[in-house]
């Protein structure tokens, strides 16, 4: 009954008078209201979906990230275990073989020693496969945001330069994501920064670190305005054991390892230098093909 009464009221209002202009206002207002409600509804639904997607994505990223972190920690641990394992195998194998050679061929213990040797060799094989895993799984298949790595490790990097050196870090405003292990990249950064810091021979100076994209590379630049490297030595600085530091100050292995790590990842590194004006080392690393899964974790396990 209420509905009919309302309908009749409405009918009477629209049909029983001649004010068509007012009717027009009312119908325009009504359709605007309906459009508004519909538009709001659709938009809210769409926004809701977007938010849900965003949360789902970040949850997924977080999960990937913690997976990557776990795998990396596991890899570092595995490398350490394998190293110790290989060392532990040495006395077992050597002493078992020596004992065998010192006993008569038909001695009862010969059979036991044979089995000790086989067991130790199997263990050795296991350690080698662990070592292989720790390299392949955790170091060759990672992504790293250069800027994120620089930001997260600012204090560590600052500690790598001497107190007379000012460290300027210039981070690209867009994330520069490289196909590279963050652990290795941090090692590279530390090696380059400490070399740059040493180039001032104890005097005041500045070391610049820049992360950016450069054509098809993720690029990391370390620059100093220190003593520079003679032209004839510049080609050799990446050779293993080339060093102009005093014994005990460096192994000459730093830049050689930098080069081999970068080239293993499909990149390249080069140095430019002018005597008395300074040195710039540029590291070009392949850009990650799927930059969504970023790993910026630091060393969590060190053995």
């Amino acid at each position: 009954m209420v509905e009919i009464e309302a309908f009749e009221l409405f009918f009477e209002f629209t049909r029983s008078h001649e004010d068509w202009q007012l009717d027009e206002y009312v119908s325009v207002a009504l359709s605007a209201l309906i459009t508004g409600v519909l538009w709001f509804g659709i938009d809210a639904h769409r926004k809701g979906q977007e938010i849900a997607r965003f949360y789902e994505e970040s949850l997924k990223n977080e999960r990937n990230m913690s997976d990557a972190r776990r795998i990396q920690a596991l890899g570092t641990l595995a490398g350490g275990v394998a190293h110790s394992g290989n060392n532990l195998m040495q006395p077992i194998l050597t002493l078992a073989r020596i004992s065998k050679s010192q006993l008569a061929n038909d001695h009862l213990v010969q059979g036991h020693l044979d089995r000790i040797i086989v067991a130790a060799q199997n263990a050795g094989e296991l350690f080698h496969s662990i070592l292989k895993f720790s390299r392949n799984e955790t170091e060759l298949s990672q992504r790293v945001d250069l800027g994120g790595l620089l930001r997260e490790n600012q204090s560590l990097l600052a500690a790598a330069v001497s107190s007379n050196i000012q460290l300027d870090i210039e981070i690209s405003p867009i994330p520069v994501v490289a196909q590279f292990s963050s652990n290795n990249l941090l090692d590279i950064l530390l090696a380059l920064i400490s070399n740059s810091s040493d180039s001032y021979n104890g005097e005041q100076g500045k070391v610049e670190v820049i992360s950016r994209y450069s054509s098809e590379w993720s690029q990391l630049v370390v620059r100093d305005y220190g003593c520079g490297i003679p032209e004839k030595e510049l080609d050799r600085v990446f050779e293993p054991f080339f060093t102009n530091k005093d014994v005990g100050q460096g192994t000459g292995l730093g830049l050689a390892i930098v080069k081999s790590l970068v080239e293993d990842a499909g990149g390249h590194v080069h140095a430019e230098s002018v005597i008395g004006e300074g040195t710039t080392v540029t590291v070009n690393i392949p850009i990650a093909d799927d930059p969504i899964k970023i790993s910026t974790e630091q060393k969590e396990v060190s053995l």
Binding site: A82, H83, N87, M89, Q90, P91, V247, T251, I257
Partner: protein, 124 residues
């Protein structure tokens, strides 16, 4: 008589390799790290240095570099169990530097003894 200077931070490894050398009538002097390298007289009569690569204090790599400088006539054999980097990386580097031979642990002591004999013979 051949004299070997054996450098390894692991006492058990030294014990095992020392035993192998002694059976082969090779005299062994042992050090647990490379910090001895500039001690006067320590390298006297040494025919071959056998060193681990990853050690505390002075690392094997640095030891090899220093030996090249202070005693270039003494051949060096490097050995490594892998670790921070792949053992192969270190051994390749050691070989680039001028180590006469490289062994990946666990190594075969018979081959090590043969190598020591071969290098000592070349030297004399």
């Amino acid at each position: 008589m051949i004299k070997v200077l054996l450098v390894d931070d692991d006492e058990m490894v030294r014990y095992a390799l020392r035993s192998a050398f002694q059976i082969a009538d090779i005299v062994v002097v042992e050090k647990s790290n490379g910090s001895f390298v500039r001690t006067p007289g320590i390298l006297e009569d040494v025919d071959v240095v056998v060193t681990d690569i990853l050690m505390p204090n002075v690392e094997g790599i640095e030891l090899i570099t220093t030996l090249n400088e202070v005693a270039p006539h003494i051949p060096v054999i490097a050995m490594s169990g892998g670790g921070r980097l792949n053992s192969q990386d270190y051994l390749t580097s050691a070989s680039d530097l001028g180590a006469a031979a490289v062994f990946s642990k666990p190594l075969d002591e018979v081959k090590l003894v043969d190598k020591v004999r071969e290098l000592a013979a070349l030297k004399h």
